[in-house]
Symmetry: C2
Subunit: 398 residues, 2 copies
């Protein structure tokens, strides 16, 4: 595993340069697929000369029976439990993954691939198009969650891994988890979709469309050709991220954390400065995001989420997707998640039950909102630890 | 009352020109205040040579005792119940105001002023700054809900109107209603704040900040000087409106109205076109808004809402604002409103009760979200009709 250590305080410009390099030459493991190993896409197109960047933790056992696949969310990446090569910050799920952690790397071999369409080394719009030698930009075909999962399956094939002990992920990661179980039911022994659903709702599509319009409204987006032209739609992407970020937190969490507190001042300034802490916070979320994420990737990955609708792919009936499903499920939702409310998880559970699947359903009471899966949440830790241990026992993984 | 009749289908460019003219020369009644009648602002500044544009419906009775003041919401204006001079569309509350309607213009004299900071004829950033002869832009002082209400009080003074039978408004209109009762308790006989609260929440401030950042990110905003420079931050303002509009509807309403239905096509196009009806809908909301609304007004009016916090102005205790309040209240909320949830209205009711005020509280069960006050909602109609009639009876208004 190659992870170059990075200075923790690279300047924004240096970070942006570094982020651009990651697209073709990631600071992680990478598997390249040649012209003879095309990836068939749901759009009908094919990708040739493509690659998947991924990270691993722990050791693969001799039987190759201890694999836990982690699927990341919209703005996540493969750097689950190591210092991030661009930001210098800890991995996004350090709490969950490591020796003695709920996903215990002394026991499991953990793999996390960067998603197709991403910008951290798996083929995406920032990657070099082998046909032109220039970044794909909008020449990359529009992708789906199904395409992401198909790419991951080809990665595991290449690594000689057949069955997966558990597939785990939150938000868009949870969509991939469900798609894995639907597309490869014999391969997935257990599945933990967290804070997700079997489709993207109308409201969710609307928020994504706001983000995309914000990016595309930025003249520096240049019709998607900004990498070639040396510009960067930073302002548009920052607005997109700000709008998105609000949806990841609950009203209560924002109230508790920021309330109407003023930022480093005693009274209102009667200007358009960030008087309130919440303003300063979301501006910061926007401005740091653009240093590590590609604007076109934001378009592609949000679009893949919008297109996700398992029922629609199965004659309009979600239960049809899970008929005779042997995968054991643990579906997790959070009470204060308004982006993927419990009702969406419950619909999945209902369909799984209708298909006769083995399913546990855990609704965790928390006021932290959608992003709870990324935060300190002992009940989530215990749920994942216990469920994976039970599955491992059933399959004689020690 | 001067209302010029407008062609219903003016082109967007003509509509934009028309909208710009409204700022100084509104298609409605207008009262101008000279240099000797300054408006004192909460920021400490004063406005001189300012004006209030307003619309009236019905007849003022001899005792001047039948006045109903309507306060409009963020993107509303004084054109409550007449054809809009810019868009050619019906007034925004035609359902509620008119002969025989819940706010019956055969009985009440209805006044609706455009808010201070607006763009339809009351002084705002698009108005000509008398000191320079150019549009104010960001040279206009930042305003508050208190300033808006103070300006309205000066309008009523000028019209020789003392007491107001009822002040009614939804959303930001409801904030003004509350502010009226707090600032002029002896003048307001009854108050109907709908879908509002006594402060703007952290989440609400965050959504407004996204909108402002979207406007200011548009290079055509030009630091606020776009009117002088002949540009228009249409894309930025459209994104702001899109983000805002999502918050005005409930998840259920969006699901019922649009679901995941495709727009004029049988299947996904695998592009970034508006495949889904919801995408097409919010794009339309964004693009039509910019023809009738000034981008700087959007900044000023959202800022005024963010600054609104009655408790903070009363030693941190909301009840202090309503001590010995003689105004009779009817507080209305909607179950599916997540922008101003019922809990915000309940906090107002609690404070009113603590102050010994007379208060009815009506929580209307609807799945339509925050914008319910603008929609067909018979329970709201009956509530307003009945409450106003009772107040009128108490005060011998026939």
């Amino acid at each position: 595993m190659t992870i170059s250590s990075q200075p923790a305080k690279a300047s924004p410009d240096r970070r942006a340069d570094k982020a651009r390099n990651e697209a073709d030459n990631p600071s992680s493991l990478v598997v390249r697929f040649g012209a003879d190993e095309p990836l068939a896409l749901d759009s009908g197109s094919q990708l040739r000369d493509w690659q998947v960047a991924y990270q691993t933790y722990g050791e693969l056992n001799e039987e190759k029976s201890n694999v836990v696949l982690i699927c990341h969310a919209l703005t996540g990446d493969q750097h689950v439990a190591n210092v991030h090569p661009v930001t210098g910050k800890p991995g996004w799920w350090e709490r969950m993954v490591g020796p003695g952690k709920p996903i215990d790397t002394r026991r499991y071999f953990v793999i996390c691939p960067n998603v197709l369409g991403g910008c951290m080394g798996t083929t995406g719009p920032a990657s070099t198009n082998p046909a032109t030698g220039r970044p794909y930009g909008l020449d990359l075909p529009v992708l789906t969650i199904g395409d992401m999962v198909r790419a991951q399956a080809m990665l595991l094939d290449r690594l000689g891994i057949g069955k997966i002990l558990g597939v785990v992920g939150g938000s868009m990661g949870g969509m991939q988890v469900l798609q894995w179980a639907v597309a490869y039911p014999d391969r997935v022994l257990s599945a933990i979709p967290i804070a997700a659903g079997a489709r993207h709702s109308s409201q969710n599509i609307a928020f994504h469309e706001v983000g995309r319009q914000a990016v595309m409204a930025d003249p520096d987006w240049q019709g998607g050709k900004y990498l070639e032209l040396g510009t960067s739609p930073r302002k548009g992407l920052a607005v997109a991220r700000m709008a998105g970020h609000i949806t990841y937190m609950s009203d209560q969490a924002l109230h508790r954390k920021f309330g109407r507190n003023l930022q480093d001042r005693d009274k209102r300034t009667f200007t358009f400065d960030a008087d309130f802490q919440i303003e300063s916070y979301i501006r910061h979320q926007g401005s740091t995001f653009v240093d590590r994420f590609d604007a076109n990737s934001y378009l592609y990955v949000t679009r893949a989420m919008d297109y996700f609708d398992i029922a629609a792919d199965h004659d309009g009936r979600l239960a049809n997707a899970f008929l005779d499903c042997k995968t054991r499920f643990c579906v997790v939702s959070f009470t204060s998640d308004w982006l993927f409310p419990t009702s969406e998880s419950r619909a999945v559970v209902k369909a799984l039950n209708a298909g006769g699947a083995s399913v546990s359903f855990v609704e965790i009471a928390t006021s932290a909102g959608h992003d709870s899966f990324l935060l300190e949440e002992p009940e989530l830790d215990a749920t994942i630890r216990g469920f994976l241990a039970a599955v491992a026992r059933d399959h004689n993984v020690t």
